[in-house]
């Protein structure tokens, strides 16, 4: 017996939103996938592959996979550059959408290289007048985005996270010193160049330091959570750099190294053999005349010392999404004291206080890619149960 297909709105086109949409479509549910930026894949689509001689399970390739699934699935209607304006509930949900005004977070160029059908880039031109060499098939920003009303039987909130703004930690000099970068910057540098290069002069750095817990586990900021991704991404990128350049001298400044993923202990043991670990979080960073960075920290003998590095990577963590306050009002569901949509139900970490609204991915708190995928699958499963879609 076939019943009328149900429709679900998924808010957010990052890895969690893509996964939730795809899993729902596999069970014959129609999906409206709303994404405020011009491209799909969120933060995760910009990450680099961190394999050395073998895969280290960073999950970056799973995002590409999921993207391909979604853009080729007719049951999923993708609305890029679109924002939520209002959500009413009268039996079904009625969602008012509008063209997004800030579609290009973190993108400096006047052409956005996002990703769309068949994994090919979707070039969106923000300003036609300033863009001299528009690529073939480029879309003008004015032409995308949707205004209007969409009805849905359930909502999955997959609005993601905001990377910690490293500028808040002033003494690290992020944006002031060009060779102080964040983990996300490093992902993109490796992605673009196949290797690490210094932003200031494009040379290969020999001496690199990673500072962990930037913006996470920080009492002074009130960020009392572990971001659950930074140890893994820092160590994995450090190993990728080491694999390409065995002479690279890499130091990890840390509080506690966290296990993330299957068999992490074995990976950590390998890291201990070729990376230097210092259990101290440096505070001050100063530039040197040779375009290097002097880092002040306290060593094992509790002596304050300065050490010079070519490149400093700040392992920024996961903080609540910038739209969380607004979305919580639209949906009538509460944020936890940290600002995430964390579910209190131990047996269902996707549930909210509102029937028919479910959380997926980092909107509900820090998660890595595999955990976001699993959580989004769970959200899709709970929606199916809620809608009573039978086999």
């Amino acid at each position: 017996m076939k019943t009328e297909p149900k429709k679900v709105m998924v808010i957010g086109g990052g890895i969690a939103g893509l996964t939730a949409a795809w899993e729902l479509s596999r069970l014959n549910v129609d999906v409206e996938l709303v994404e405020k930026t011009c491209f799909l894949g969120g933060h995760a689509i910009r990450l680099c592959c961190k394999a050395t001689d073998e895969c280290v399970q960073c999950g970056a390739c799973s995002v590409e996979d999921m993207l391909k699934n979604v853009v080729n699935e007719p049951k999923i209607n993708v609305r890029l550059a679109t924002e939520i304006k209002k959500i009413d509930q009268n039996g079904r949900f009625s969602v008012t959408l509008d063209k997004s005004l800030s579609p290009a977070d973190n993108i400096q160029d006047d052409i956005i290289k996002g990703y769309s059908k068949n994994n090919s880039p979707l070039h969106v031109i923000l300003d036609k007048n300033s863009c001299s060499n528009a690529p073939k098939g480029a879309v003008e920003f004015d032409k995308i985005g949707f205004s209007g009303n969409v009805e849905a039987d359930a909502i999955i909130l997959a609005s993601g996270f905001k990377p910690f703004d490293a500028e808040i930690k002033k003494t690290y000099g992020y944006t002031k010193f060009s060779n102080v970068i964040t983990g996300l910057d490093l992902e993109q540098i490796i992605r673009k160049n196949s290797d690490v290069v210094r932003p200031s002069d494009g040379t290969k750095p020999q001496k690199i330091a990673f500072i962990q817990c930037v913006g996470s586990r920080d009492e002074r900021l009130g960020n009392l959570w572990c971001s659950q991704v930074c140890c893994a991404y820092a160590l994995k990128m450090a190993e990728t750099i080491k694999y390409k350049n065995t002479d690279a001298d890499i130091t990890i400044f840390y509080m506690d190294i966290q296990n993330i993923g299957k068999n992490f202990s074995a990976f950590y043991e390998k890291c201990k053999s070729n990376l230097r670990f210092i259990r101290n979080i440096p505070v001050d960073v100063l530039p040197t005349e040779e375009d290097k960075l002097k880092v002040r920290y306290v060593d094992d003998d509790s002596l304050a010392i300065y050490e010079t590095f070519d490149l400093l990577v700040l392992s920024v963590g996961i903080t609540p999404g910038s739209d969380n306050d607004e979305l919580s009002k639209f949906l009538g569901i509460n944020l936890n004291q940290d600002g995430f949509f964390t579910s209190m139900d131990m047996l269902n970490k996707t549930s909210t206080s509102k029937n028919g609204v479910f959380i997926a991915g980092t909107a509900g708190g820090p998660k890595n890619i595999p955990a976001s995928i699993a959580h989004a699958g769970q959200a899709a499963g709970e929606v199916i149960k809620y809608l009573g879609v039978k086999k």
Partner: protein, 554 residues
């Protein structure tokens, strides 16, 4: 889920009963959810009861209401006539393919045979004492974490005025499950009059929701955490714990009334037997899943066999619930309403050519090949992932893979090579899961590519025959690149490994034929490596230009 059957499709019947292995909370919950989706379920449990929680600390963080809900699920499962419960029962054999597994169960020595469409493994964690790692013997004042939890629950008043020392993360590389148990105990001790608490640890593993807060709360209430690189010194009766503090440059001693020693949580020993019977991969540390991102969260290397919660990793119950929901989705998608539309020509064996050598059976990473009543090999269209490893390994070329059949691929090779070209002709065999995507990306982002580059798509690098590569050279290609997924990232586990072996074989043949080996290379890359794709093919072009065109390029 489509109803449009074309000529290449057929409708087949599948068994929709599901076997759940493990009667702990994860297994019970899985059974309940699957039964709610309309399938019949059999739960087997080795112990005498279901719903016994074998892993201590598993319900840490659960309140009374949650516990009652769990008991409610147990009661519901017992009462549900869609669910059959077999206690004191273990798996004793398994045959068949997804949609039609023949399972043997052994209950007190009696053998029960039953068919199932899918199997879910929900084994639990096993617990080991680690006191020996700290040079301690368990005694009245040296307790394992579980013993201490018991004491806290039953005789809290005994802990008034006591000094309690926790040793964790020094006898093993810790994990958030262990940390949470320690911190929950400490949290309760903070409420007891005049009870002092010390935690000795290495890396404090707080990578789970709420643990950093718990850490702060317990510190605020007076618990002292010492982060050391090695275990502190303890005297053998556990009456003194000390270490040298490098910052204060002195010995710090604590005289505890009780020492609580962490426990190791590890994979169920049953996993190994199950992996054996069900022909699924055993992953790191005895858990039932390879460390392969394409399996996450709940897939095994075999279609229709799912691994949830602690069966696949160090997972607590909330994490297991995430797995359960994912499993229910997978089961629904697999079994549907008992009728499935499948492709007829995904992989087809020509039994006329087949010499029954068993090569395909042995090399299939998905255990998709079985022997039918007439003792002929059959490939299950549900289990088969279409990777083509079997087709390329078959010494008789008796297996053909749908759109990637030998005739079509050889035709494609011929059509892509135009002899007499001045630009070096480079053929890249690209796995559709990785290199093909990377190539598309390189092209779309206008990265540099050789003028004479031609791409041939394969379902998996494991489908790149020695014959294909040789044919490519015979047709006059100047260079050949075999592009596979990174090691450990192949969706068919071993496709990239087979491809590498075959390239080594062809290198030997080229050597004998007097063709430079450098004209053929094997590389691995990921789908998002557009830039690397470009560098690899450009490097090949440069190399070919140095070598000159192939002697066979006429």
């Amino acid at each position: 889920m489509t109803n449009n059957i074309n000529a290449d499709m057929e409708k087949i019947a599948v068994n929709t009963d599901v076997l759940v292995i493990g009667g702990g909370f994860t297994g019970i919950n899985t059974a309940s959810e699957i039964a709610d989706s309309g399938y019949k379920v059999v739960i087997i449990e080795e112990g005498a009861n279901i719903g016994d929680q074998k892993t201590p600390g598993f319900l840490i963080g659960f309140n009374e209401k949650d516990r009652n809900r769990l008991q409610g699920i147990v009661d519901k499962v017992v009462a549900d006539d869609q669910i059959k419960i077999l206690t004191q029962t273990r798996l004793s054999g398994a045959k068949g393919v997804p949609g039609n597994f023949s399972i043997s169960l052994s209950k007190n020595g009696d053998i029960i045979e039953q068919k199932f469409g899918a199997v879910v493994i929900a084994t639990e964690l096993s617990v080991k004492n680690l006191n020996e790692k700290y040079g301690l013997s368990l005694s009245k004042n040296v307790l394992a974490q579980s013993q201490f939890e018991e004491l806290l629950n039953t005789n809290k008043n005994k802990l008034i005025n006591k000094t309690v020392v926790f040793l964790a993360g020094l006898g093993q590389d810790g994990n958030p499950l262990v940390t949470e148990r320690v911190m929950r105990s400490v949290f309760k001790l903070n409420e007891i009059d005049n009870c002092s608490t010390y935690v000795y640890t290495d890396n404090l593993k707080v990578a789970a929701d709420g643990l950093e807060k718990l850490y702060k709360e317990t510190r605020d209430k007076g618990t002292i955490y010492f982060k050391l690189k090695e275990s502190p010194n303890t005297n053998s009766d556990g009456t003194n714990v000390s270490f040298h503090d490098p910052i204060l440059k002195c010995e710090i001693s604590v005289v505890p009334d009780i020492i609580v020693v962490e426990e190791a949580l590890s994979a169920d020993l049953l996993n190994e037997t199950l992996a054996d019977f069900l022909q699924i991969d055993l992953g790191p540390l005895g858990f039932l899943q390879k460390n392969n991102v394409h399996r996450f969260p709940v897939r095994s290397n075999r279609e229709g066999i799912f691994v949830v919660g602690a069966a696949r990793d160090l997972n607590n119950l909330p994490m297991s619930c995430t797995d359960i929901a994912n499993t229910v989705l997978e089961v629904k998608i697999l079994l549907e309403d008992g009728k499935k539309i499948v492709s007829k020509n995904k992989a087809v064996i020509d039994t006329g050519k087949c010499t029954f050598c068993l090569t395909c059976y042995r090399c299939c990473p998905h255990s998709a090949i079985f022997w039918d009543k007439d003792n002929k090999p059959v490939i299950s269209p549900i289990a088969c992932q279409g990777c083509g490893i079997c087709a390329s390994e078959c010494p008789m070329d008796a297996i053909q893979i749908g759109e990637f059949n030998d005739t079509d691929i050889i035709k494609k090779i011929k059509s892509k090579i135009k002899p007499g070209n001045k630009e070096p002709c480079i053929i890249a065999f690209c796995c559709q899961n990785s290199a093909l995507e990377a190539g598309l990306m390189a092209d779309a982002f206008n990265l540099q590519l050789p003028a004479g580059l031609q791409i041939i798509k394969v379902p998996c690098a494991g489908k790149i025959d020695v014959d294909y590569i040789m044919n490519t050279f015979i047709e006059g290609a100047d260079g050949v690149i075999v592009m596979a997924c990174r090691e450990g990232n192949c969706k068919s586990e071993t496709g990239n490994i087979y491809a590498n072996w075959r390239v080594n074989d062809v290198h030997r043949m080229l050597d004998e034929a007097g063709i430079e080996k450098e004209r053929l290379c094997f590389v691995t890359l990921a789908s998002n490596m557009g830039k690397e794709f470009s560098s690899i093919v450009i490097d090949m072009e440069t190399k070919i230009k140095e070598l000159g065109l192939s002697p066979l390029n006429k």
